[in-house]
């Protein structure tokens, strides 16, 4: 395994662990100031300027998401969804601008109120080297069911 792939893998595993354990502020700290977090709706190729998204957030939206989840008043995460995710099939591409594009897949098992569900997605990160690790410049999550009827998806993906 290349040194880059090893560092990227460690970073993605850390992100996944923080999301699974609902450690909201540490998860937010992984994102760059100019971050964009996008979960397309209906169609993987939809243009977010003209097509609704499940999530399309810049840094301020991410901060609002985390503030809400931490407020104690987010009913849809009270109780919190129990989460366990697998991140796999990681590939890296070094981009000319110094960012690293990371392609992976993610399978999330989610349990809440006696119902266990699976979410599955292709994920594309763009990471900016930062100290020994990275900051997330963009993350796009292509859910297999992004055109389906979806229940509670208020936990971190």
């Amino acid at each position: 395994m290349s040194a880059l792939l090893e560092r990227v893998q460690a970073f993605l595993y850390q992100e996944a662990d923080l999301a699974d354990r609902h450690v909201y502020s540490d998860w937010l700290a992984l994102w760059a100031e100019d971050a964009v977090y996008w979960i397309p709706c209906n169609d993987d190729d939809a243009d977010p300027q003209t097509h609704v998204a499940l999530i399309y957030e810049t840094r301020s939206g991410l901060e609002d998401r985390v503030r809400r989840l931490s407020s104690g008043y987010a009913h849809s995460q009270n109780p919190q969804t129990r989460l366990s995710r697998v991140v796999a099939n990681i590939r890296t591409i070094e981009l000319p601008d110094g960012l690293v594009e990371v392609r992976s897949v993610c399978n999330i098992t989610a349990f809440r109120r006696q119902i266990i569900e699976t979410l599955a997605a292709r994920v594309v990160h763009r990471l900016r080297p930062y100290g020994d690790g990275f900051r997330i410049v963009s993350k796009t999550v292509y859910l297999v069911n992004n055109d389906g009827y979806i229940g509670n998806m208020t936990f971190l993906i």
Binding site: L54, R67, D147
Partner: protein, 428 residues
């Protein structure tokens, strides 16, 4: 309930309270499908979803699968998705564009207007075989300002009677938000589902009383970002009103607390230039007074019985699946004739609150699911809708209004529900 009669359904709703069976009893649900969804006007979609000839969407009327489409003449139709031969679904895609529908089973071909065009090997039918009588079956369809309604009941009242002048005026105020009077429904759809009765979402759509406890986490975000406190809209001292528009239709008018001529884009305000371009285009079309009326009112809500909701930047199509399963589609409304930035801001504003990962609707849905649990506790089976019952105001236009935290809309909806559920005409 067993051997239920129409009168029994009527006993579930009093003027100030509703019995838990109205949300929990499968027999009630069956009666709703037969007596409301299959016998009266329901909302099926907006013409903007199917702008081109051959565009189609699958929909349901009650539990019946239908195709909502624009035919080769440009006419909007609602056809039963059932081959007239052996009942296979002739349309298997949820949406798309087609020149016609060919049944995959035995190859019967139907035109977009439903006419049967051809069948394979017709020589084995006798002389009585009449293709002109074997077209796909139609629902009655009418639309107002692009909003399309259908009924399976050939004897139903005209759509304008069902909607009434007050609802028609509300639809004008929605469609006229576009400076050319045309809404574009081309920005996709949020689909959400929940484990609760569909009427819990109906009640919630025009319910000011829930907003501050349920949406506190979102309102605190808005306050932190903008300094604007949305909670002020939904206290008992707010000047905002709820209106009963007749036939179970209701509206929530928040314009009294929105600064005149502004648009409510909390956290996602467009640039001054884009907003002024938009406002000036509205003024050119409608004059300053109506333009400002439209903008100020654009954060309002409208509910059309039984399955249509309009809130802010989207309309909603509710689909009851069973007594405690509901599927909902939320279509963002794009305005034709405005700078792209305005429409993009509408999308971002919508996403913050709505959809399965939004900050507001997800909490509403959580509350519906807890409500369904609570409703099963039947020692005292009544749910109370009396708030403001002694403070209703009757208006010359036939509407009734109440303060934004009153339960006036609940009483309006349940009154209409009771009327249709107990109708003897529909009892057979």
């Amino acid at each position: 309930m067993s051997n239920t009669t129409a009168a029994d359904f009527g006993n579930l709703v009093l003027r100030d309270r509703v019995h838990g069976d109205a949300y929990c009893d499968p027999q009630v649900f069956e009666r709703e499908i037969d007596g409301i969804f299959s016998r009266h006007w329901i909302f099926v979609g907006h013409e903007g979803e199917i702008p081109n000839k051959g565009d189609f969407r699958q929909r349901q009327i009650g539990r019946q699968p239908v195709i909502f489409l624009r035919d080769q003449q440009g006419q909007v139709r609602v056809l039963m998705n059932r081959c007239t031969h052996r009942a296979n679904a002739v349309c298997h895609l949820e949406r798309g564009n087609a020149a016609g529908f060919t049944c995959p089973y035995h190859g019967w071909r139907f035109r977009l207007d439903g006419e049967l065009a051809s069948v394979p090997y017709p020589d084995r039918y006798d002389a009585d075989f009449d293709k002109s009588r074997l077209g796909l079956r139609h629902a009655r369809v009418e639309s107002r300002r692009g909003f399309v309604f259908a009924t399976l009941n050939p004897d139903d009242v005209p759509l304008d009677v069902h909607l009434g002048a007050l609802v028609l005026a509300e639809l004008d105020d929605i469609a006229d938000l576009s400076p050319v009077g045309e809404l574009l429904i081309n920005a996709g759809v949020h689909r959400v589902r929940f484990v609760a009765n569909w009427k819990l979402m109906v009640e919630n759509a025009i319910d000011g009383y829930h907003a501050n406890p349920v949406h506190r986490s979102h309102f605190e975000n808005v306050r932190a970002r903008t300094g604007f406190d949305p909670a002020a809209l939904t206290t008992s001292s707010s000047p905002a009103r709820i209106r009963d528009l007749g036939h179970g239709h209701c509206a929530w008018d928040s314009s009294s607390i929105i600064a005149k001529g502004t648009r409510n884009f909390p956290g996602n305000r467009p640039t001054e230039t884009a907003f002024n371009t938009y406002r000036n285009a509205l003024i050119e079309r409608h004059g300053e007074a109506r333009a400002d009326h439209l903008l100020t009112k654009s954060g309002s809500h409208l509910y059309i019985f039984p399955n249509f909701v309009y809130v802010g930047a989207h309309y909603r199509l509710m689909q009851p699946m069973s007594v405690n399963q509901t599927w909902v589609q939320l279509f963002p409304i794009m305005l034709k004739g405005v700078p792209q930035e305005i429409n993009t801001r509408r999308l971002r504003t919508h996403e913050v609150f709505y959809g399965p990962a939004g900050f507001g609707q997800s909490d509403d849905i959580e509350i519906f699911e807890r409500n369904q649990i609570g409703l099963s506790a039947a020692l005292d089976p009544w749910s109370l809708i009396a708030r403001g019952i002694h403070l209703e105001t009757r208006h010359e236009d036939g509407s009734i209004s109440g303060q934004i935290t009153d339960e006036l809309s609940n009483r309006a909806v349940w009154g209409r529900w009771r009327e249709l559920m107990t109708s003897e005409e529909d009892a057979a």
